[in-house]
Symmetry: C2
Subunit: 365 residues, 2 copies
């Protein structure tokens, strides 16, 4: 039908959906900024500046890429089982933790259901919620960006199906308290704890998974193992939930390259852990140095990034200065974070350059 | 909540969903059959027996796997644009054509909507339909497995949102006629033409895409380019549809390995085309040889596979014989196809072995 108007058959709640605000790859940043790709410092995606394990890089040689991947993710789930200590019946791998988030929506959320987002937090929950036609209630975090249980209680009603808790929270860096999770787990809702930055925080609630059918813990290989580009994450959950995720997931959701890199990374944990330790050390050093600057608050962080909040209009000036120097950090367009940006922790050399530019920009003012 | 019953919050239509019947990877087939992996002949997944392009294999060296992939798929869509001749505004890439099928459901289908499946056909449409809560109407194909327009007409009503047409059809191998597509496009429904095997059939309706907002053509790199394991396909469609697919897709849906392999494959089209030509030649030879066997009908095929139909109980015997020899083909559990199986075209040596075993098994009877 030549004059068919596709808007007539779109599901109404999707007519005004906005794309998730994803980070651009280096070649596009280079094109947009006019700065050569090799001179860019990309600190906007919480990527690992030390890259992937050399074993993971080597594992992509001679892959049987013409054959379909394993729909049951047996090798992958066995490797994750060994790493986490949980049985494979409690593990599902996804194309990034993002895919597990999306599967959770598809399985549990009907249009009109309600979910709780503890803002400010990772944008993927509300993006997936909109696709699912869910109502997102925002339980704003307190002044230190900790969970505000009163706000959460106020926003829970009969239609509330699940709550997302990121720990460490992205972009604020703080951990959720174990007591808060225990408290939320007593409610008849699904509690999703996103531990994407677990390896940097060493803090987890995974020990509650076997006993709590309403808990799902999310993890990823993107950050600690430097595999963001290969899209591989996983969920730890009660076996009654695993069943549904395995049934409903796209059959070949983990491609053979991601599988090979994951397996090789788990063979190289000690090297990857050394990189994680360097990032932690650099993060803590950066935090101290940033907090020495007037009109700037660097929040304490358990992730591989730091949220910086500026007074007045300083954030725009500093962001501009960084960009002019080929340094890309993550800014936000919400009211609460409009004077803040998030800096991913880079290499020592990169961090020093970032710090120097911020110091200079702030003293100029 | 320790005694939380997750079935209470599952979306009701998903309680009885069955997993998509995916093909197992060689290591699992080997484990199950007790036949060493190197002795297996895997002809159950329409994979490319000549493998991927050497350029694609080389392209996975030194990938920046620690960085997120490009959410806008610019390089990928440009390469597909060059290959298909369509502008990038008419192209969306997916983690396999499967992901595009799934996105179509998510954008257009609300629970209770109806879709048309021209059975027997590819199982992914009805699998995704069930996840979406859609009602699947089956417009059974005629005795030659061609579309039955009367059956289609009978099953279209006000709730019908879309129809899937696979061409060549999987598993039957036949093409849809151009007139049938033109006829269906006059209706106020979305027509999805799955051309996963286009490179083997050389037949396409992509020239109708720019003028028909209700047409989406699907393609994949899995078969002709031997990239099944990397999950990369694409949809060709009117720009009014592209907009929604790009907005709603997972931001980083094509991983960096898939991107690199796709770009390299498009740099090696002439070699891949030679492999395609060998498969076509072998397919046509196999078809002739199989049809010489009594009690066996090998359907004419425009794909890289052949549907074999047996009289009486021969299919079970032959399937068993093949399996004992480490040869895996695709069987079906529907009433109509219970006496049939689909053989993917392998290398010349593999095909000869398959033929020999079938001949022997049928003469024994």
């Amino acid at each position: 039908m030549k004059n068919f108007n596709i808007n007539k058959i779109i599901r109404p709640h999707l007519l005004s959906l906005k794309t998730y605000d994803a980070v651009n790859p280096p070649d596009l940043l280079s094109k947009k900024s006019g700065i050569p790709e090799n001179d860019l410092i990309k600190l906007n995606g919480n990527e690992n500046p030390y890259g992937a394990s050399p074993k993971a890089i080597a594992a992509l040689k001679n892959l049987p890429m013409h054959l379909y991947p394993d729909p049951d993710q047996i090798k992958i789930r066995n490797a994750i089982s060994k790493y986490t200590g949980l049985p494979i019946d409690n593990i599902v791998a996804g194309a990034g933790a993002d895919e597990i988030i999306d599967l959770i929506f598809r399985i549990f959320i009907s249009p009109g259901d309600s979910i709780l987002d503890c803002s400010p937090t990772f944008g993927m929950y509300s993006f997936c919620a909109k696709i699912a036609g869910a109502d997102v209630k925002f339980a704003e975090r307190d002044s230190k960006y900790d969970l505000d249980i009163n706000e959460i209680e106020k926003n829970i009603n009969k239609k509330t199906k699940l709550i997302f808790i990121t720990s460490p929270n992205n972009p604020t860096g703080n951990l959720v308290s174990y007591e808060h999770i225990k408290y939320l787990l007593k409610k008849e809702i699904l509690v999703v704890v996103d531990e994407a930055y677990f390896e940097f925080s060493k803090s987890s609630v995974q020990n509650l998974v076997l006993d709590h059918p309403n808990l799902i813990v999310l993890r990823t290989m993107s950050k600690w193992a430097g595999l963001a580009g290969l899209r591989i994450g996983y969920g730890l959950m009660h076996s009654s939930a695993t069943k549904y995720l395995m049934e409903i997931k796209p059959p070949y959701n983990i491609n053979v390259a991601a599988e090979a890199a994951l397996l090789a990374s788990f063979e190289d944990v000690s090297l990857l852990q050394k990189n994680v330790d360097m990032i932690i050390e650099n993060r803590d050093w950066m935090n101290i140095e940033l907090n020495k600057i007037n009109n700037l608050t660097a929040y304490p962080s358990f992730g591989n990034y730091i949220l910086c909040e500026f007074t007045k209009n300083y954030s725009k000036t500093v962001y501009g200065e960084l960009e002019e120097n080929g340094i890309f950090v993550r800014k936000f367009n919400t009211e609460r974070l409009k004077n803040s940006f998030r800096i991913s922790i880079g290499t020592e050399v990169q961090n020093k350059k970032v710090l120097q530019i911020i110091q200079k920009a702030m003293n100029h003012e």
